[in-house]
């Protein structure tokens, strides 16, 4: 079933946010179709959370415009808020209330019809597998359970768009997979539009489309497969008897820049399968093992920014750490 209407659920044009001299978001333009799962991928401090905060009317843009579920974020913030659900990076539950009480508080604050509330609470709490723990205080929950409860709460008032800001940050790998199972199940069940941010490449694969954001700008935007195809190069990793010499030879004979990986070398080359036989024939260093990988989103990121996402994180974090405005805002 193709979901296509004329109006995008999220419609953003040249949206900007600056704090003094620091431009956190430098004019982003994109739209999200109804029912789509759209991801913002980028290192910490790239402007993902700032964008999400503007779309959720938590902070005011300094330029551009944005419409969410048909309402303008600047002129009708309450309209936006009624139509969206939110799951933040940091927990926002009342730990001294039970899971059920947290959801009931939410239902009342969003003015859900009283007679339908119990049924709806049950639906969402079962969806995340916490029905048996509904009467326990949230402070007794694990990190993963809390996040699941927050997702259930974000869905409780049947929002048109669900915003997930780094939904799995701070969780162990197994719990992360677990959370994604829940998110995918609910996407099928509720046919909801999802806008998410992440700095995990593997999580971006779950999206219908992703925008890669770096230094407050969208550098590229497409489906994960199209982005990877556009890179056009395969990644070759290998182990040799002498990695240092191999690096030099790759540079001199093949004009390829290899980087160390800890247990060998890695580099990108078009047509990897055809290249490997040449490599064996022409490289003077004995090769122990070779593997070819199709491009990943890491490669996409590197292709567009010239850095790996990990390098980008360390530099942007420093950039933000020196700005007191942002530090104050993030510390909350």
């Amino acid at each position: 079933m193709a979901v296509e209407t004329d109006e995008a659920t999220v419609d953003v044009e040249n949206l900007q946010k600056s704090y003094g001299d620091l431009e956190a978001v430098r004019g982003v333009t994109f739209d999200v179709a109804p029912g789509e799962t759209f991801g913002f991928l980028g290192p910490n401090g790239a402007g993902k959370s700032t964008t999400i905060s503007m779309l959720c009317t938590l902070i005011t843009p300094t330029g551009g415009r944005a419409r969410v579920a048909g309402c303008d974020v600047a002129t009708d913030p309450l309209g936006v808020r009624r139509r969206i659900g939110l799951v933040f990076q940091d927990p926002t539950l009342d730990e001294y209330l039970t899971a059920y009480e947290n959801l009931r508080f939410h239902a009342e604050l969003y003015r859900m019809p009283k007679e339908r509330t119990p049924e709806r609470v049950k639906t969402v709490i079962e969806m995340v597998g916490l029905w048996h723990r509904r009467d326990d205080l949230v402070r007794t929950f694990s990190g993963g359970m809390k996040r699941r409860l927050e997702i259930a709460r974000g869905l409780l008032h049947s929002p048109r768009v669900l915003f997930l800001d780094e939904p799995t940050v701070g969780l162990d790998p197994q719990t992360r997979v677990n959370i994604w199972d829940y998110i995918q199940a609910l996407r099928d069940r509720e046919a909801i539009t999802i806008f998410l941010t992440t700095h995990y490449m593997d999580e971006a694969e779950y999206c219908n489309r992703i925008a890669i954001i770096d230094n407050g700008e969208i550098v590229t935007m497409d489906t994960p497969n199209a982005l990877k195809a556009a890179v056009g190069k395969d990644r070759i990793s290998m182990r040799t008897d002498d990695d240092a010499r191999a690096t030099v030879e790759l540079r001199e004979r093949f004009e390829l820049e290899a980087s160390p990986t800890g247990e060998g070398l890695t580099f990108q080359v078009p047509g990897g399968e055809e290249f490997v036989p040449r490599l064996f024939a022409e490289l003077d260093v004995p090769i122990q093992a070779v593997s070819i990988a199709r491009p990943t989103l890491d490669d996409v990121f590197m292709n567009h920014t010239g850095r790996t996402i990990r390098d980008a994180e360390s530099s942007t974090t420093e950039r933000l750490a020196t700005n007191p405005m942002v530090r104050a805002r993030r510390g909350r």
């Binding site: 079933m1 193709a2 979901v3 296509e4 004329d6 995008a8 994109f30 739209d31 999200v32 179709a33 029912g35 789509e36 959720c56 009317t57 938590l58 005011t60 009708d76 309450l78 309209g79 808020r81 009624r82 939110l86 933040f88 940091d90 927990p91 926002t92 539950l93 009342d94 730990e95 001294y96 209330l97 009480e101 508080f105 939410h106 009342e108 604050l109 969003y110 003015r111 019809p113 339908r116 049924e119 709806r120 639906t123 709460r153 008032h157 049947s158 048109r160 996407r187 099928d188 069940r189 509720e190 046919a191 909801i192 219908n208 489309r209 489906t223 104050a328 805002r329 510390g331 909350r332």
Partner: protein, 296 residues
């Protein structure tokens, strides 16, 4: 203009229809309902915390029976009037003061533990959240004050209908004023540590200048003048007047221990003092809402 080329394979239509749409904007009725939800949470958390209810009584009991009895041995009162009776309304005010401020701090905790965000992103105006917080804190502080009334017979204060009605009304006003004061201070505080500084700077002076534990009638001019600027002093004076009325204190005792508050030679009438408390409460709540709603 959608650039989406994705074909989505979403399954069944959601089994629940979207929540009823509300009219655009928010009316005062919306605000009131939102405030009620916030208020309910405060009450729920108060009821759950039985230990807090009990421990918060320990301090006033210590003040009333240990400090009060001790001071009574060195303070000469006309006609051997019980000093603890004098202190009783002051200790009620103290209970309300500390409970109200403690409740107001919860907004800093809410911020610290993230729950404030849940309220801030909801489709309600920030002012409504503040009013709900204030109503909740005031209710909790009033209830703590009411619990203090069980001590009344021990300090020779009789249960009379008039006294209880008077005290309840005064407690509600005092609790509202003090919670609003706490919220006004807490509205923009980001860290819980800062609030402890605020406590030392504002709350203790507020308490000492209120005449809760000693008469403020014959103080040196500099100190007496300061007490006139403490809104809690008027609340304490009102409660003391009510108690002294109920115990039928002789005129000599009243002149000494409950002479009322004077501006120059004018003795403020009770109605005027009530007016001060109401106006200060409204101003502080307004200030708290302003602090909380103005963009950061």
């Amino acid at each position: 203009m959608s650039s989406a080329t994705t074909t989505l394979t979403s399954g069944a239509v959601p089994d629940i229809a979207p929540v009823t749409e509300h009219p655009q904007g928010a009316t005062w009725l919306d605000d009131l309902k939102a405030a009620k939800v916030v208020w309910k949470r405060e009450i729920l958390r108060f009821r759950r915390n039985r230990i807090r209810i009990l421990t918060s009584l320990a301090q006033p009991i210590l003040f009333l029976f240990v400090l009060g009895t001790g001071l009574g041995t060195v303070i000469h009162t006309p006609g051997n009037f019980q000093f603890t009776t004098f202190m009783f309304p002051g200790v009620i005010a103290m209970t309300i003061l500390f409970t109200a401020i403690f409740s107001a701090v919860s907004i800093v905790w809410d911020r610290e533990f993230g729950f404030l965000r849940e309220m801030l992103v909801a489709p309600v105006r920030r002012g409504a959240i503040m009013i709900g917080k204030c109503a909740g804190g005031a209710t909790v502080a009033t209830m703590q004050g009411l619990i203090m009334l069980v001590l009344a017979p021990l300090v020779h204060v009789p249960y009379s209908f008039v006294l209880i009605v008077e005290l309840v009304v005064l407690m509600v006003l005092t609790a509202t004023m003090l919670t609003a004061f706490g919220l006004f201070l807490a509205a923009r505080i980001q860290e819980i540590e800062s609030f402890q500084v605020v406590m030392q700077l504002f709350v203790l002076p507020l308490f000492f200048l209120a005449g809760a534990v000693f008469p403020i009638y014959r103080l040196p001019t500099w100190l007496g003048t300061l007490t006139r600027f403490d809104p809690l002093a008027y609340a304490v004076d009102l409660m003391r007047r009510a108690v002294f009325q109920a115990v039928h204190a002789p005129p000599a005792v009243r002149a000494e221990l409950s002479p009322g508050i004077h501006w120059g030679s004018w003795r403020l009438p009770a109605g005027f003092e009530v007016g001060i408390v109401v106006v200060v409460a409204a101003a502080l709540l307004g200030g708290a809402i302003y602090q909380f709603t103005r963009p950061e």
